[in-house]
Subunit: 308 residues, 2 copies
Amino acid sequence: MSKPVIAIDMGGTMIKIGIVKEDIILSSTAIIADSGNGLRQRLPHIEQAVKDLLAQQGFSCKDIAGLGIASPGIIDSTRKKILSIDKKFGDAPDIDLEEWCRQTFDLSFCIENDARAALLGEWKYGRAKDLDNVVLMSLGTGVGSAAIVEGQLLRGKHFTAGILGGHFVINYKGEVCNCGNKGCVETEASTWKVSSMPNNIHHEQPFSDYKTVFRLAEEGDSNALAIRDQSLDVWAACAINLIHAYDPEILILTGGIMASGSYIIPHIKNQTDKHAWTPWGKVSIEAAAFPSSSALYGMNYLVNSQNK
Amino acid sequence: MSKPVIAIDMGGTMIKIGIVKEDIILSSTAIIADSGNGLRQRLPHIEQAVKDLLAQQGFSCKDIAGLGIASPGIIDSTRKKILSIDKKFGDAPDIDLEEWCRQTFDLSFCIENDARAALLGEWKYGRAKDLDNVVLMSLGTGVGSAAIVEGQLLRGKHFTAGILGGHFVINYKGEVCNCGNKGCVETEASTWKVSSMPNNIHHEQPFSDYKTVFRLAEEGDSNALAIRDQSLDVWAACAINLIHAYDPEILILTGGIMASGSYIIPHIKNQTDKHAWTPWGKVSIEAAAFPSSSALYGMNYLVNSQNK
């Protein structure tokens, strides 16, 4: 039997920390990310939270198989470094996290992109169990993705394969994205963009999140309706591009926005059924089995694979 | 030493046939595709052309390792069937080509998508030799693509992985493509589309190919310039999506349009350098080493791999 793992999911708003054994969270907590102030200042808080969780379970580090971090951005999972990360946690590429993990807990360490980690969690324990061709699309602050093709998690030469679905061009005449590209999925519709979307900026009180957009659209607000409908079309185009790129049998939807959008799955299903070129049949479009913990399960899987 | 291979590249206009040994064409010919009338009526002509080439070399079928066909469309390379193909060669999915090859030549048979075959030719013998992360983009009647990620040719669950670059959505509010999708690369700019592009339809004599478009653009024709510039932007967006999807170190450009466009590579290079999210450096954008024969070399490689 494998030992439990300390799994950490670095979100932009909250950092989730759990002691995980297979797909069971033995105990977990979450601390404020305060990501604008960087990751280094968070490390003592993470350390304390981990120690509290261990104490709660009566564990010492000897009872643990290792520690795994799911992080946004481009992650070198071989050299265990964060290569590139959005403004959030901007100091992270300069921190030797493996060394921090060794000094603090004397545990083996691994790190992976958060969408890849979530996909691994769903693949090993959740919605994509026993399937070998799976794509995940995550709708949150940004739009994330990851792909498993013929049983292999795509990482690529520079660790960007599969994860840049949010930066597919879907409007080649569109605006410049914060990644430097033009007309990306994210810059057409995502939480970081929503407050400056065309139908929002002329609104007296611009909506700052999709929860509000979806609620007011239901109530018939015309700006909210326009933003909702444009966003659904953008995400459907992203889903079609992911399907055309990776040829999956299932596309798993996850991320914070999913919580408030009962429209999202039916709309994307309708669009991919209608427009994706899949002469063999239809791609399943499904919600994640573990919307808030698949990345923790994925890191549990990676730590155990690494220790084998 | 491996024996030579009969390699056939089924283009929409011409069918190329060669006797190929590694990256050497011992002899070759081309016959009119007449693709609008289907593939079945072409088989006796292909048979005759192959027999002429064999005779020319003093070969019998016993001297040959096998026969390989590079075909447009979605190809099941395991069951050796054409699954889906555009209007051209519309009867091809109903033909048992393996059986035809056995009865006609008593040779082992293989078949692969033409862009994948071209990529394999460039990977084994041409521009991408010794590289393990390579994307090919082909600009012709349509827009084709193929990808090798971490040394593996992507085929996917239903044989569509890597090859649908021409059907990435790059204008999610765009027109319906002949694949059923909206705002695909191909429907924004490709040879089959050029005569009905917005800047063309109001022209007294619409341009029917890019050779004319590029020539007249050089001479300052404003409609030709508009079509040229839009097309370059569309293909650059396609290249960026291929880079974001597959994380290659090199993107190889090939296809009929390349012959008349000295602008194409510099423009795409400029756009991908500027807009692709590749924090590790810049993707090489290069012309194919064998623009007209890489698919033949690729089929030589596949036939020999299959016989091992």
